[in-house]
Amino acid sequence: MKLSAVLWALLTGAVLLFLLAPVAVLIFSAFDDGKFFRFPPRGLSLRWFGAALESPEYRSALINSTIIACVSTAISVTAGLMAATGLSRGGLKSRALVELLLLAPLTLPLVVWAIALLQIYARLGISGTFGGLVLAHAVITLPLSVRILLATLAGIDPQMEEAARSLGARPLRAFLRTTFPLALPGVLTAAVFSFLVSFNDVVVTTFIAGARWMTFPVRMYSQLRGQGVDPITLAIGAMIVALILAAVIAGELKFKWSRRL
């Protein structure tokens, strides 16, 4: 190999290391035995993981996050699949405009929106409620679903459904037997990304979460701003990151996720 190629590979490796380092450190630091992480650690143990699994207050925040993410993902993927189907198969005259509208939240800043939403929610009295949180999360994940599913449907021949209809299948059945199974990897991708965005969101949720429906990231965020993180938070964060990493690597290898975004 030529020197330039070696340098190039080293540079690339350094950037990849930089991308990996924070999550690697996060996972590593959860094994530190001490109450405050320091490097090199005085000792390694699994005790914070054990504590994490037993702590009821963290469990409730995690359960809240999971419930909210599941419900908003269901809404986001359903509405997204409907919209993508209508847009890619409908021959609407206003297609470009509707697409622009539906994808706009990807380019508009969420903080700005959250500052407005906070005030509207306060007036409507739904700040900190389950419904308010799910609505906000469904809306921020919807454009992601729409984009992933539009790209998915663009790769599926619309004549497949027509063939099914000419063979005697009613429209819904034709969709469920032909387009839907072929779109399943895309639907799964949309669901996973919607779930992750919702589950991890702190930018919007910190404005509208209440004491009753506190999510895990918001809880962690207030710790980070205040006294600093406790090791239990670190352990839970490490487990979440490890799960996400495994899911993303599997998803990328099996479904080429990076191409669907």
């Binding site: 508009l108 700005v112 729409v146 404005f207």
Partner: protein, 284 residues
């Protein structure tokens, strides 16, 4: 093909959600930024006033914050561009069967959210963190290198958070590069440097532009990373807006700060569009 009626029915829920819940609040924000909150009162005064904007433009605290934010955004964008170009090229041309795995690594900051990687960075660059611990045990430094609570620390976090926004559009545009273009240029006598400046960079310019716009806008409005890695000592425009909205509870003023951010983003968008039009091959 679907009938237009059923297509409209399918699109309707998403359009209602997006237009009603996402876009409508932006319009309300414009109105709310003109309201005011008299000191010591919880009631809002809804007579339109430009007082909030006057306060932002005349107070050195806010204008300084704005200048610092723009500087951080520009620096983040530049660093991301410099790091992404070789990485994207390597992914497209050299990674081969590792491509998927490497792209998964690139996706990490995106799929982990803003918070978890930031928590990792705190433990990485903190006074007792991995970086300082390593340097100290190697005997390279005696006292901890102060990164947490400085602009450098914030920059590290921002670059990490938004690098994928630059890498992915670049990979997409490099994927579309005709494979033979480089070979053709070399057969015509172009050296490696000329291949980059005359062929690769011009053809990737749209991707680079898209990535830059995304990174700049994301940085400008980020508040979680600056707040945590700056340890509250380095106010940026977005952290100011966050504090006004969620701690000070002066919502009209927070709205005005948000509107200013939106205006800057609109200007960046317009600039990006103009540059895109001026690029060769804009019609494609």
């Amino acid at each position: 093909m679907l009938a237009a009626k059923s297509a409209r029915g399918l699109v309707a829920p998403a359009v209602i959600l997006t237009a009603g819940v996402f876009l409508a609040p932006f319009l309300l924000l414009l109105a709310m930024s003109l309201w005011s909150q008299p000191p010591g009162s919880l009631m809002l005064d809804v007579t339109p006033t430009g007082e909030n904007y006057r306060r932002i433009t005349t107070d050195a605290y806010y204008m300084g914050g704005l200048a610092r934010t723009i500087w951080l955004s520009l620096a983040t964008t530049a660093i991301c561009a410099v790091l992404s170009l070789p990485l994207a090229w390597w992914i497209v041309r050299r990674a081969g069967r590792f491509r998927g795995l490497i792209l998964a690594v690139v996706l990490i900051p995106m799929v982990c959210g803003a918070l978890l990687p930031t928590l990792g960075i705190v433990n990485l660059i903190g006074p007792l963190g991995v970086l300082n611990g390593t340097l100290k045990s190697l005997g390279l430094i005696e006292r901890s290198w102060k990164l947490l609570g400085t602009q450098a620390g914030i920059l590290i976090g921002l670059v990490h958070a938004f690098l994928p926004l630059m890498v992915l559009p670049l990979v997409a545009s490099m994927d579309r590069l005709p494979r033979d273009a480089e070979g053709a240029a070399m057969s015509l006598g172009a050296r490696r440097r000329a291949v980059w400046t005359r062929i690769i960079l011009p053809l990737c310019a749209p991707g680079l532009l898209a990535g830059s716009a995304l990174v700049f806008c994301a940085t400008l409005t980020a508040f979680v990373t600056p707040l945590i890695l700056g340890q509250g000592k380095i106010p940026t425009f977005a952290t100011m807006a966050y504090q006004q909205a969620s701690l000070v509870l002066d919502w009209p003023f927070a709205s005005a700060l948000a509107v200013v951010m939106l205006a800057i983003l609109a200007a960046i968008g317009a600039l990006g569009w103009a540059v895109r039009q001026a690029l060769p091959g804009a019609a494609r």
